[in-house]
């Protein structure tokens, strides 16, 4: 929505739900055994899980190799586009230039061979349309996305193609971008969430590309126009691109319009380097990041997760939901509803081609850092030690399967399911069999993956906050490695 509200204007019962895991239909839930919740069992519940069939995406290949995926939705006169370019994300940054993929993506909007940055913006804003380019710091993909009203499709799509294929990287825009990004570096280090994520990623992945959460200042200083031109030329190729479309458009229309604007985009034929799995951390570690003035401690407990195609993925989905999937997870029930330590406590995971990360997180008032961390670790231990009770398991599986119906309301959610299937080469009927696969997960499966992925000797603990309140709690867990808000070790 276009209207924005000031940060303090709207206050909710729960924080906006955290993305539960990379990709499967993301709702949350699970019963509650903690004292915070009581089930009287008098409400009229329909016992049937609604049988729904996933609307089918339509797929085709463009003549230059771009794979096209379309989900039709004619409820509103608008269309959303997403071009995913495999190999153009931060995972493929040159080692000495962590951030180059992100810089390239950010600067593609700042001018093409025929239009200035201002001209691109004016055309799009006049139509209330958008074109954006982004590349996650550790992602394999860059994304060029666009949206607009049906009536303006041709204009938006041709601008999107221009930005994708013909960026000019004007030096003046690069200079402006550098100044702006330096200020962003200052700001991100004021955020406890950023400091926690940076430290956890380092603990999980060391120097591997998956550890990247933001560009480095050194890479920004070294940034040159030549580097951008070269990265764009080598990495933005149609060979490994996907064009995903949702909205008021048919496959035929999408295909015709895409051929018209992306047709001149030439195949490169070059292959990209295969991704490599990071080493596992040698031991559990405990890290502290000093943020003077903090009134809360930001706690994170994380591990490496798994590859997206790993057979444990579904069982870990169920286990994660039992532990920390939303307001009915055990972490929320215990740390918020029973103890009142926090506004929210959740866990989530993602998976990539080689591995991913899992983490539990909560922000608590500084004074209760010790008991909150103890309880958080105890809930993880319980998942390893005790099988999930039958009812809790059944409720969790029902929540996941029934929640699938809700994802059908959003064409973008449906589209994302098909993108995921395509990217990870999952079976053609992957989403059709999703409900039966979830139904088949047993308590033993859940306990096995909890024991495997959340083993005590794998848990990396990170706390951000006020030193005097946090360090005594952390020292009980072992040797504490301390860092400043600048990201550098302090003794």
């Amino acid at each position: 929505m276009i209207r924005r509200l000031s940060a303090a204007a709207v206050v909710c019962a729960f924080a906006a739900a955290v993305a539960v895991h990379g990709e499967a239909p993301a709702q949350q839930g699970n019963p509650a055994k903690a004292a915070g919740t009581v089930l009287k069992g008098r409400a009229p519940v329909n016992k049937d899980v609604l049988k729904v069939s996933l609307p089918k995406a339509q797929e085709a290949d463009l003549s230059n190799g771009v794979h096209l995926i379309v989900v039709e939705d004619h409820r509103a006169p608008q269309v959303f586009f997403q071009m995913l370019v495999d190999g153009a994300g931060g995972y493929y940054d040159p080692p000495a230039m962590a951030g180059l993929a992100g810089f390239t993506a950010a600067l593609m909007r700042e001018g093409t061979t025929t239009k200035s940055s201002e001209q691109v913006s004016e055309v799009l804003d006049r139509l209330a349309a958008a074109v954006a380019v982004g590349a996650g710091a550790s992602s394999a993909f860059a994304t060029v996305s666009g949206n607009g009203l049906t009536a303006n499709l041709d204009t938006v799509l041709s601008l999107m193609a221009d930005v994708l294929m013909n960026p000019s990287f004007p030096q003046a825009e690069i200079d402006r971008y550098k100044a702006r990004t330096k200020a962003a570096f200052i700001n991100q280090r004021t955020q406890p969430g950023f400091l926690a994520q940076e430290r956890l990623s380092q603990a999980l992945f060391g120097d591997h590309p998956l550890s990247r959460v933001a560009p480095t200042p050194a890479a920004l200083d070294a940034l040159s126009r030549e580097a951008l031109v070269e990265f764009h030329k080598a990495h933005y190729v149609p060979d490994r691109a996907i064009l995903a479309v949702a909205g008021d458009i048919s496959l035929e229309q999408a295909k015709t319009k895409s051929e018209a604007v992306f047709g001149g985009w030439q195949k490169s034929g070059a292959s990209i380097a295969a991704q490599t799995a990071p080493a596992s951390p040698a031991a559990a570690t405990v890290s502290f990041v000093a943020r003077p003035g903090s009134v809360q401690t930001s706690l994170r407990v994380g591990t490496q997760s798994l590859e997206r195609t790993n057979a444990d993925y579904d069982a870990l989905t169920v286990a994660n939901r039992v532990l920390g999937g939303g307001p009915t997870g055990r972490l929320f029930s215990h740390l918020r509803e029973e103890k009142g330590y926090t506004y929210g406590a959740y866990s989530s995971f993602n998976a990539t081609r080689v591995v991913g990360s899992w983490s539990a997180s909560t922000d608590v008032r500084s004074e209760v850092t010790d008991p909150a961390l103890t309880d958080l670790l105890d809930e993880i231990r319980q998942m390893r030690a005790v099988p999930v009770p039958d009812k809790e398991l059944a409720d969790t599986k029902k929540a996941l399967v029934a929640g699938f119906a809700l994802s059908l309301e959003s064409p973008n959610a449906i589209l994302n399911n098909y993108i995921e299937r395509y990217i990870y080469k999952l079976p053609a009927d992957y989403w059709d069999t999703y409900p039966s696969r979830i139904e088949a997960i047993t308590a033993a499966d859940v306990q096995r993956v909890a024991s495997k992925y959340w083993a005590a000797d794998r848990l990396q603990v990170v706390a951000v906050g006020d030193q005097s309140k946090v360090e005594p709690a952390l020292k009980k867990l072992g040797v504490v490695q301390a860092f400043g808000a600048d990201g550098k070790p302090i003794k």
Partner: protein
């Protein structure tokens, strides 16, 4: 089940609205708008495109209704609505919704408190049972109050006290308003939250959480006739209460600029916030002020970004915002000062752009942008049953006109360049202005510094 009973026997008034908005007949949102005998306004809109529905219950109470020294109470109370009622245990409401594949939340702002769920289509009874039971019989205990007081105080720390610039937002409201209704933050002060008593909760519930003080809206894969019958079954028996008085939101005229500087130990760059008192939402001048905010800050081509951020490179970001309020609004312009630049220069540059709106030309493309923004807003609402349910409820409650879901976009088409200049000249004046400058507090030893420097 009462599905076979005649709906009209239970309804105080029936008005079926079939709407044909200008130029968009095929996408018009159709709905039924009725009132139960106990005063509950009910809006049902069928949409069978996906097997889901959304329900919103909008109560006519917000932080503007709070008493002095009880700030934050409306929102604290919202949390109590999840701690159980006669037939639903503490936490059972959200457990049942999530376990059956749904999503839900509650939210409070200055002017209303809203509860909502989205569920698979076969759980309509569940949603109506849960919402009606707590409207009828909230279970109010000291233990529940203390528990949620803690959660809310952590919410305050998370959103304001532990965030750079968090306390700036409260200072703006405190300084810009004289009327206590909007002078405080929705989440309230720690002292006031500590002072809230069980008696306060009980009184608040009886006063404001009555059927005659709420709108229930349902959008999605439902049958209107059956849905109305179910609503009568679950909500019909709930008693009407004396109609609470809405607070007087009027703001006395301001005679001089207000200004303050605050220090923030968590911030690392200065920030400039300028706010002007403006007319309530839903008035023609408000719509024109929306267009002013879009000229200044919608999209990257907008003037504040183009001039203050890009050309002059004075700020990291610069934006304008015209939030919806039932009473006097606050038009806000904000910018974060770029490293090495001065807040005074940033403030001057922001005000210069505001002056240019008053005196210089408004371009055709800027007016086009505003008109298209209106159409996009309407299209966005079409793709989510929840967005539509919320809009229908709020438009019914705030303006007695749920059909604004179909007509709001067209109101922007009436706004001209002359209107934009007129409202900028009328409201964005020096005497109507309130300025807050936030400065980073000098870092103590060991405090974080910008890692990029």
């Amino acid at each position: 089940m009462s599905g076979s009973r005649r709906v009209s026997a239970f309804l105080f008034a029936v008005a079926v609205v079939l709407v044909v908005p200008i130029g968009a007949a095929d996408t018009a949102i159709k709905f039924t708008d009725v009132k139960l005998k106990n005063g509950l306004r009910v809006i049902v809109s069928e949409d069978h495109s996906a097997p889901t529905f959304s329900i919103a219950v909008t109560y006519n109470v917000g932080s503007a209704d709070e008493k002095v020294r009880r700030t934050g109470f409306a929102h604290l109370f919202e949390h109590m609505m999840f701690k159980g009622s006669e037939n639903v245990g503490p936490g059972e409401h959200f457990t049942l919704v999530f376990n059956n594949g749904g999503n839900m939340n509650g939210t409070t702002n200055n002017d209303r408190t809203l509860y909502f769920e989205t569920l698979p289509a076969n759980q309509l009874d569940l949603a109506l049972f849960l919402e009606s039971d707590r409207m009828k019989s909230l279970d109010i205990t000291k233990a529940n109050l203390d528990n949620q007081r803690n959660a809310v105080q952590e919410e305050r720390r998370l959103g304001l006290d532990n965030q750079p610039y968090g306390n700036t937002y409260e200072r703006i409201d405190e300084q810009a308003y004289d009327n206590p209704a909007y002078k405080h933050s929705v989440i309230g002060s720690m002292d006031d939250l500590n002072a809230a008593s069980v008696d306060d909760v009980a009184t608040f519930f009886k006063t404001y959480y009555a059927p005659n003080n709420a709108v229930l809206s349902i959008v999605g894969d439902v049958d209107t006739k059956r849905t109305l019958a179910l609503i009568e079954k679950y909500f019909g028996p709930i008693s009407r209460q004396p109609q609470p008085k809405r607070p007087d939101l009027a703001e006395p005229p301001h005679t001089a600029e207000r200004r303050s500087t605050i220090e923030d130990s968590l911030a690392r760059l200065p920030q400039v916030d300028i706010a002007w008192i403006t007319p309530p939402a839903g008035t023609p001048d408000f719509d024109a002020l929306d267009v002013v905010s879009w000229v200044l800050s919608s999209g990257r081509s907008a003037r504040l970004n183009q001039v203050v951020v890009r050309e002059k490179q004075l700020a990291v970001f610069a934006s304008a915002n015209n939030p919806d309020k039932r009473g006097p609004g606050l038009f806000q312009v904000s910018a974060q000062v770029a490293p090495g630049k001065s807040p005074a220069d940033v403030e001057a540059a922001l005000l210069e752009e505001v002056e240019k709106v008053k005196t210089g030309p408004i371009h055709d493309w800027e007016i086009d942008k505003a008109h298209n923004n209106g159409v996009r807003q309407q299209a966005a609402a079409m793709t989510s049953t929840l967005q539509r349910a919320i809009q229908l409820g709020e438009y019914a409650l705030f303006y007695d006109n749920p059909n604004l879901v179909n007509t709001r976009a067209a109101t922007y088409e009436k706004v001209t360049a002359a209107d934009v200049q007129r409202v900028a000249r009328k409201y964005l004046t020096a005497q109507n202005r309130s300025v807050v400058i936030t400065l980073p507090k000098t870092a103590a030893a060991g405090a974080p510094t910008g890692g990029a420097e």
